[in-house]
Symmetry: C2
Subunit: 382 residues, 2 copies
């Protein structure tokens, strides 16, 4: 497996050097003579400019703004690689732009930022917003990501979504809905352990609480979030008030004993067979750390897990954001949604889960390339 | 003519509504299954991200940054329409992005800004710069444009060009070189009147002085720039020290009497037949105000002008920026030029002029769609 991963990396490097960029900007019509030029540029375009200057609400109908999304990152939390800056982030954002077009017909442009300052990021995104119909924030570290998303949502009139939070939460919930079916567990009684209390973990917890689950126990790098901890601030302080009903203390071992569900959005190889073996019968394990899961699927299965999912394409049950963001923005653009709410995301998760007619232990989410995925999600975002 | 212009505007509006944006962002390769996904996105892309995080100088070889230019406007001086804001500016910037691709194979993305504050514009452009290989500033009002360009050139390591200044100056000089030939005038003795002392007029004057012309007289909305004026600041103060050798005072009439060349980058219908008639024999008139020239070509000709050029595609001798910016940026990207200098622009103007083997009164610049144009300009930018 390690060898295979290394090979994918090598092939990917060669491919990237050959492509020199994964997306291209192309004219929608040929411009081959002065008559064409006179229509798309001066003097003809002056009529369109004058019209839009006084009919700003028509911008989406006459320009690219109606179908264009910015994929914006400050490079501070890229994949599992951490704070690798804008240069490291760009290939990921380009990849995402490809998927926006390939899966949802959306024109997406990658913007990687030369700043990691919260206020500068907010000001910059606001300043470039007029050309976009939506803002996809990506790979921005917590807790900065919360403030940035909240402020931009409040101050812009187009939808703003930090995909690492809400896109992830949507897809996790969709998978979980089917995993509950397969394991015949009742969500309302389920005890769920979430390892990782950053962007993804926080959003997953919020969405699961609204969906209605028994109890959630959050774990960060210092252990279980409980009410005796004095080091919690911001989102974590909010979370600890609503989770961990029995106020369990300790770490992963204490949290997982008897738990129904493990959701890992933390670090690779942090969960052991013994941890899984201590969970409730027919346990559900979502080991989503990328590229190395918290526990490898075969180990988790042998230790007693009934349904195992990862973020990887080379195992069954790939919980991947590509199942979410294309449809979320397709819906938001088509239905002119200004705020993407958790209620919409829960509906989208249900729609996504329902695409799998007969869920099994090996099949809880549809394939990213299933044509029905985008419209199932999009119809919920309205 | 007025009727025809109105028609072009109407047709253009219909076309824009049909296209809903003139450029589209497309993947450079098909992504149709999970194997493709694994190469262009996770997990394969992680190898590229890691590599670029530590080899920032390779960004242009592995990502779109090497061939992508931002076309950035604050909407403060759009065409002849003035300060119509980002919404009004967007169709123009999209048109320009089309031309970048159609003429020079460059991926150009339009950014229209929600701010017209100099410092905010500078900060915003710097923050989004990592994804771009060059910055084309466009339709930003003077004097703000000077400071913005100067600062960005100093603070970024990629080429920054305010096209209304330097692109215009390059194409004007190219046309003028051939107009001098046709009229058998000696540039070194020519007296040149430039109406309009904003972005374009200032850059034209600077480039012509470096090229070497007899004398230049600049005119702004208050009349001739001369050394008794006490209202001049910034660029105008610099200009007045180097131009108007005889320190002429007055307005257009005083400036044009006996002049060899008129270059108008000001307002439509401001030059009369009498003005042109007062110029030297075989006068050259570049009436570049758009869409209405300072004087219509037929009137100028009847009044004695030998060579007349405008910015319009429906008359002979169209002095259009499309002859300049595609080649300027093609050259800058291909030769990794960090600063586009006036020396390069003069060389480019000479190359451009040389494409017209036998200049005549009706043919002083090549056609924008002549395939030789971009490479002629590009080879000078190195």
């Amino acid at each position: 497996m390690a060898q295979k991963k290394q090979d994918i990396g090598k092939v990917s490097l060669v491919l990237h050097k050959k492509l020199r960029g994964k997306v291209s900007i192309v004219p929608k019509m040929l411009v081959k003579n002065k008559s064409d030029l006179a229509l798309v540029y001066t003097p003809g375009v002056a009529a369109v400019s004058s019209y839009l200057a006084t009919h700003k609400d028509k911008l989406g109908e006459y320009t690219m703004a109606g179908n264009t999304v910015a994929v914006i990152s400050d490079g501070s939390a890229v994949l599992g690689l951490g704070n690798i800056g804008p240069e490291g982030a760009l290939p990921v954002m380009e990849g995402k732009a490809m998927l926006f077009k390939a899966l949802a017909g959306i024109d997406a442009f990658p913007i990687v930022l030369a700043t990691q300052d919260t206020e500068e990021i907010i000001a910059t995104v606001k300043n470039i917003a007029p050309v976009f119909g939506g803002i996809n924030l990506e790979d921005i570290a917590a807790p900065r990501c919360f403030e940035i998303e909240r402020r931009l949502q409040a101050e812009l009139s187009i939808p703003v979504l930090h995909d690492d939070q809400h896109g992830t939460a949507l897809v996790v919930l969709a998978g979980l809905i089917n995993a509950f079916k397969v394991t015949k567990k009742n969500p309302k009684k389920a005890r769920i352990v979430i390892a990782g209390a950053g962007a993804a973990g926080t959003a997953i917890a919020s969405l699961l609480m609204l969906f209605g689950v028994g109890d959630i126990i959050m774990i960060d790098s210092k252990g279980v979030l409980h009410r005796k901890r004095t080091d919690l601030t911001g989102e974590k302080l909010m979370l600890v008030k609503k989770t961990n009903k029995k106020n369990i203390t300790g770490g992963l071992a204490e949290a997982l004993a008897g738990a129904d569900v493990f959701i890992g959005v933390s670090k690779g190889n942090t969960v052991t067979a013994a941890h899984v073996a201590s969970m409730a019968k027919n346990a559900i394990v979502f080991a989503l750390a990328n590229p190395t899961p918290e526990i490898m699927p075969d180990i988790a299965k042998r230790a007693g897990a009934m349904v195992v999912a990862t973020g990887r394409s080379d195992f069954a049950n790939q919980i991947n954001n590509s199942l979410g963001f294309p449809g979320i923005f397709r819906g938001a653009l088509d239905h002119q949604v200004r705020q993407i709410t958790d209620v919409m995301l829960i509906k989208a998760a249900k729609n996504l889960a329902a695409l799998v007619k007969k869920p099994t232990t090996e099949y809880i989410v549809p394939n990213t390339f299933d044509k029905a995925v985008v419209s199932a999600v999009a119809k919920a975002i309205r």
